[in-house]
């Protein structure tokens, strides 16, 4: 039997990238800014979303796509506040992909929606590799996780445009080294912006919300 060498050079994630491009085209049409929000479980994604929506005020029409392995716990929290929300259950998968988002927004009218926040599955590793039609990728690290996380999970810090450092109210109770944290993050990704915040006290929330508002406005008017 003849043995043949076949040259392929195909991107394994090409299907996801193509689907992501379709989603982008759709969200561009409605001038909706899409944020892919990623972090470990418990870093504060859901409370960040709730506080950010409140800080942005009613002028910014926001919808949320919740990604979890199972349950509607987070979607229920959004729904209780009257925020339009779609829940994706990944059924075990450690990340959201573009096909899941496409399915979630199939019956969702994004006309008139300024901002869609995709709350990814709690995981500091896998979601960094999968586009979900987003304009902006944002990650959250929380103080109790430790300042060494950028060294251990570099890809997430490299692939995001902003890094929210949450739970700074806990700084006095931990050994978190802010200087070392900043240095490592900036060495991995000099273009990122770090927002030290406490979603519990509201400290730092305004600077983060202003950064996001600017992106929403640019998309709307751009």
């Amino acid at each position: 039997m003849a043995v043949k060498l076949v040259t392929i050079k195909e991107d394994i994630l090409k299907d996801n990238k193509e689907m992501s491009a379709l989603l982008k085209a759709r969200f561009n049409k409605s001038k909706t800014l899409v944020v892919n929000l990623m972090s470990s479980p418990g870093a504060g994604k859901t409370s960040t979303i709730l506080n950010t929506i409140e800080a942005l005020g009613p002028a910014v029409k926001t919808a949320v796509i919740e990604g979890d392995i199972t349950s509607t716990v987070d979607a229920d929290k959004m729904d209780a506040k009257g925020i339009p929300v779609v829940q994706i259950n990944t059924g075990g998968a450690c990340h959201i992909d573009s096909a899941m988002v496409a399915e979630a927004v199939a019956d969702f009218d994004t006309e008139g929606i300024d901002l869609v926040v995709v709350e990814n599955v709690g995981n500091l590793v896998c979601p960094a590799e999968f586009e979900v039609g987003e304009d902006v990728r944002v990650m959250i690290l929380s103080v109790p996780e430790g300042h060494d996380k950028p060294q251990k999970y570099p890809l997430m810090f490299i692939e995001t445009q902003a890094c929210i450092l949450n739970k700074i109210d806990l700084l006095p109770h931990t050994d978190f080294d802010m200087e070392a944290f900043r240095k490592t993050v900036m060495s991995l990704n000099p273009k990122t912006t770090i927002f030290p915040v406490s979603m519990k006290t509201g400290e730092g929330l305004d600077a983060w919300a202003a950064w996001l508002k600017d992106k929403v406005d640019k998309k709307k008017n751009g």
């Binding site: 039997m1 060498l5 050079k9 394994i12 990340h95 960094a128 590799e129 570099p154 490299i158 060495s187």
Partner: protein, 118 residues
């Protein structure tokens, strides 16, 4: 465990090219990715082995070309392959003012060896 979805895509692309090339069997697949990508070759192999059962790619061997972490030093104006140990800095002058220019490449299927039908 995103290796499951990656393995599924690898298999789909391999079978598509096997069909196009009139292949009876796929013997070997060559994949590449950057060292900083969050990919576990062992997990990918295990997932692929299970998914390929009963297809033309059953038993195919996966081999990996892992591309190095490359930085560009703003001080030396040179690029270096580095052994990433948590902090990026220049291996020559020690300056932390470096830009990451390689090592995060996504997974690609480069080529494969197939046995063609008579």
């Amino acid at each position: 465990m995103h290796e499951l979805s990656l393995a599924q895509s690898v298999l789909e692309i391999a079978l598509e090219y096997a069909e196009k090339n009139n292949a009876a069997r796929v013997d070997r697949l060559v994949l590449s990715f950057g060292r900083m990508s969050c990919i576990q070759p062992d997990a990918l192999e295990t997932a692929f082995e299970a998914m390929a059962r009963g297809t033309r790619a059953e038993g195919a061997v996966l081999s990996f070309e892992i591309t190095p972490v490359v930085i560009s030093c703003l001080t030396c104006q040179k690029e270096y392959d580095i052994d990433y140990q948590g902090i990026l800095s220049c291996p020559s002058c020690g300056d932390p003012s470096v830009l990451l220019v390689g090592g995060t490449e996504d997974l690609k299927l480069i080529e494969m060896e197939v046995e063609q039908k008579e």
